[in-house]
């Protein structure tokens, strides 16, 4: 089986992307702390909403994107798509840990417990994280690189489809004890909605930047390996 690899376009666009992210993140933070109003019920604590919810949305999108990239890999047999899928899922895992930690802090602050089973979003998220935690063990337990890419892609597709299915099942099973402040941003006051939107964009940019850095690093390493092999180094 021959697997084509596309010629590396290494590091292109990395600098503008980094600059935009470096500008956007402080703007989002300034808006969160100085522009968005203090929420009446939860007070200052509610500010974690602008960190937690964008993190969660980007994580879930990253998992689904990982699945879509895996579909492209299986259709085209171009291993560079598998690399993209791997990077998207890897970065989502890191963002996901951040989501669980911030969610836990928020739950402790507003409901008094570090973990709340009656909050379906939190529970679904934990199940999804437990599933994706097996992605790397599965991947790196397969020796043959071609098979590794193929099996990882199959996992990414199944798990990507599992994300919405799992949310549906867990949402059905809980009895809505807590009012859903994070259901939709449409009922937010305009100032909060604007801040939230900017935070979401900044977080998406951060995700994209970190992904491109990882991709570039991985491609550079592969390039170096190939070069040193052609030059006869060990």
């Amino acid at each position: 089986m021959s697997s084509r690899t596309s010629p590396p376009k290494n590091g292109r666009g990395l600098r503008p992307l980094s600059i935009v992210t470096i500008v956007a993140l402080p703007i989002a933070l300034v808006l969160v702390f100085f522009y968005a109003p203090i929420e009446a019920e939860e007070g200052f604590l509610q500010k974690i909403f602008y960190l937690h919810v964008p993190l969660a949305i980007i994580t879930l999108c990253g998992f689904v994107i990982g699945g879509l990239l895996a579909i492209v890999h299986l259709r085209t047999r171009d291993r560079s798509w598998d690399l993209r899928s791997y990077v998207a899922i890897h970065m989502s895992l890191i963002f996901g840990v951040g989501t669980l930690i911030t969610g836990s802090i928020w739950a402790r602050g507003s409901w008094g417990h570090w973990w709340v089973w009656s909050e379906p979003t939190l529970v679904s998220f934990l199940i999804i994280m437990l599933l994706y935690a097996t992605y790397q063990p599965l991947r790196f337990a397969i020796e043959d690189p071609e098979r590794q890419a193929r099996y990882a892609s199959v996992f990414a597709i199944v798990a990507g489809a599992f994300v919405p299915m799992n949310f549906l099942a867990v949402r059905l099973s809980s009895s809505y004890l807590h009012p859903r402040v994070l259901g939709s941003s449409s009922n937010l006051p305009p100032k909060m909605a604007f801040t939230f939107l900017i935070s979401l964009v900044a977080m998406a940019l951060l995700f994209a930047t970190l992904c491109s850095y990882e991709l570039t690093a991985k491609r550079t390493r592969m390039l170096l390996k190939a070069r040193s092999r052609t030059l006869g180094f060990r």
Partner: protein, 230 residues
Amino acid sequence: MRKPPGLWATVGALLRKELLVELRTLESVPGMSLFAVTTFVVFHFALNQNTVSGDEAAGILWVTLLFAAMLGVNRLFVADQDQGGFDAFLLAPVDRTAMLLAKALALFAYLAVLELVAVPAFGLLLLGPPLHQSMPDLLVVLVLADIGIAAIGTLVAALAVQTRARDLLGPLLALPLLVPVVIGAARASSPLLVFTHPAGSQVRWLATLALYDLVFGLIAYAVFDFLLED
């Protein structure tokens, strides 16, 4: 030249081989059934209760069935991997989907036999309310959950069997994927396992299970071919 056999003829042949191998070696089903009965005994001592009902009963039943199913999932492809069954299958001019269908049907049959032993044993050992009055409803839940477990179990078994740590990865992959099945099955069976006037299962749980079966059945069908190329 002879025409290659159709899909269902292949599935029939493969399923016959699976069941024949299982009948002659008795590697999976007796182990799964024994595991389930032992687990009920463990639950009796761990919970320090003689009888259970309602949510608790549904939870014990489904945790036990799920973990017993994991034993079967772990062994599902081991013989094919170790003894060249995959290579022989790939040499044959047949549709590769046949392997998925045959294995899933075989796993479904294993689960059915497991439940034939485990559910009466549960009624005898742990369950407080009588089992017979809610049996028809419980049967629907069991069938719907088994389809989901068979689809995901076959897919996960095929994924895990090629890895170094296959015994570990199988359950690690399958358990989170099967959480929706446990939610649906446990919630659907808990109103059946009560003393007074067992109500029927709520339709939404049966619908959740059916939707899960449909979605992951289709996904398994779509991606399974990619696990069998070499």
